[in-house]
Symmetry: C2
DNA sequence: ACTGCTACCGAACGATCGGTCGGTGCAAGG
DNA sequence: CCTTGCACCGACCGATCGTTCGGTAGCAGT
């Protein structure tokens, strides 16, 4: 039991556009092209093309950011291509100009989440020093990644295994879990974790805490500083999670 | 990130029947009639009808137990009436003989979950004594209810707000959350909870831990006693959750 | 002016969706 | 034996699903 702010009440949800050039009715490409890591659908590496200036058409990645938002509001299975086209402000068939189909959008989103999460395990502080310190680092960083890549990780966490992509995602996610469970076991062997809670159970409860952040954190409400109505910076929340998980809620 | 055992690989999932009387091809009514609290679709109170002997046809509640299982495997939106009919071993149209439709099944399941959860708040130990003790009691009992009513509560936890039923469920769930949050605030005011973690955030993290149980606990694997592969009794898990949440994972 | 390409469109595809309808077999009651 | 009613069925409904197809407007390069 916990939280989540608003049920999606409105239905005519069309992303409002900021800059318009075409004469066509309101479209709304995302703001993504600047954070896109390596545009898959981009034109091959030519010289000109001035890459940073305003982009008014969709790329696979800017379309993805819209799609992921809708997926998280309605659930993947509950989202139709019609819903996506309405939210993106382009026709249903136009979506297929950018991506192969619905499942590719899911795959791209989940890949991005998994890559960010696995990158945490490759950080130096995740491999050096006492196991407890490494575990605390991974916990803190996982929280931060979850919050910075919120919509993508949220999608990953909700996967049920209905399609090939989802089965693959569940497998990769289990890999990640086991890497962290290894850390928990090692810290327990060092005598740094309480002995009366099983290591596997402890791992699950730790992840339970971390992952639940996806159910209430809303970045738009952050940095307003008044309590924890879904706001707070990711470093603050990460610190609170580490404190709560390792030191407990109770005073001594 | 955490667990969940097996992706639903098989597709020809038909509940295997134990007793057969009809000549028709394999059907499989659930084992539910004995735990049904007050059979809604049952015949009016007549005298005979010998109520306890073997029941070979579906009741709304026995059908519900099948439906909820499938809902949890494929997700509500990912489950078609065809899926349900295959799993129940009766035709699609026959389902409508017992319930009004797909959404009624969801409503019945979620009602059952919510009733069980709210009942915890009405227990004497949830209203008497120091706030911290009451909070620990509610935590322990919520874990136990979650595990005993696992499939129904799981369904509740996954609701997205797409239909009227789901919006209603989210509202009721938020009520429950706020009742518990009240307890947390009171315990914090008593000085029994650490002051450096916001009460609202603490509530969310506590629920994060509790609710995550629905993602890995599998009752069929319980009572085998070897570690925490999804087994364990609900009292054991509840105790571990209380210890971890309030005392923390770390040794002192 | 012509060509080629990108980003989009409306119309339509077969499949599947949740749900309705008119039955049918059969056990129980008279 | 005949009637009644429950539990079930196959056939079918209009709507919607994800996807495909044949365009077309507008811009860049020549």
């Amino acid at each position: 039991m916990d939280n989540f702010p608003r049920p999606p009440e409105q239905d005519a949800d069309q992303t409002v556009r900021t800059s318009s050039e075409r004469a066509a009715p309101g479209r709304a490409p995302g703001q993504a092209p600047l954070d896109a890591p390596a545009g898959v659908g981009d034109a091959p590496a030519s010289i000109g093309r001035m890459p940073t200036v305003k982009r008014d058409t969709y790329t696979p990645d800017s379309l993805l950011s819209v799609a992921v938002r809708v997926f998280n509001e309605r659930g993947y299975d509950g989202t139709s291509m019609e819903h996506l086209s309405k939210a993106a402000g382009i026709s249903k068939s136009s979506i297929y100009h950018h991506v192969r189909g619905k499942e590719e959008l899911l795959h791209r989103a989940i890949s991005r989440a998994l890559d960010s999460l696995f990158a945490v395990l490759d950080e130096p502080a995740a491999g050096e020093g006492r196991a407890l310190a490494r575990l605390e680092h991974v916990t803190r960083r996982t929280v931060e990644v979850l919050m910075s890549e919120l919509p993508y990780v949220t999608l990953l966490l909700r996967v049920r295994g209905n399609t090939d992509t989802e089965v693959w995602a569940m497998g990769r996610r289990r890999e990640f879990d086991q890497r962290v469970a290894e850390l928990v076991k090692r810290a327990a062997a060092d005598g740094d974790l309480r002995a009366d809670v099983d290591a596997r159970l402890a791992t699950r409860l730790l992840f339970g805490m971390i992952n639940s952040i996806a159910e209430w954190y809303r970045p738009d409400r952050a940095a307003s500083g008044h309590g924890t109505g879904g706001g707070d910076t990711s470093a603050e929340v990460a610190e609170a999670v580490v404190r709560t998980a390792f030191a407990g809620l109770r005073t001594h």
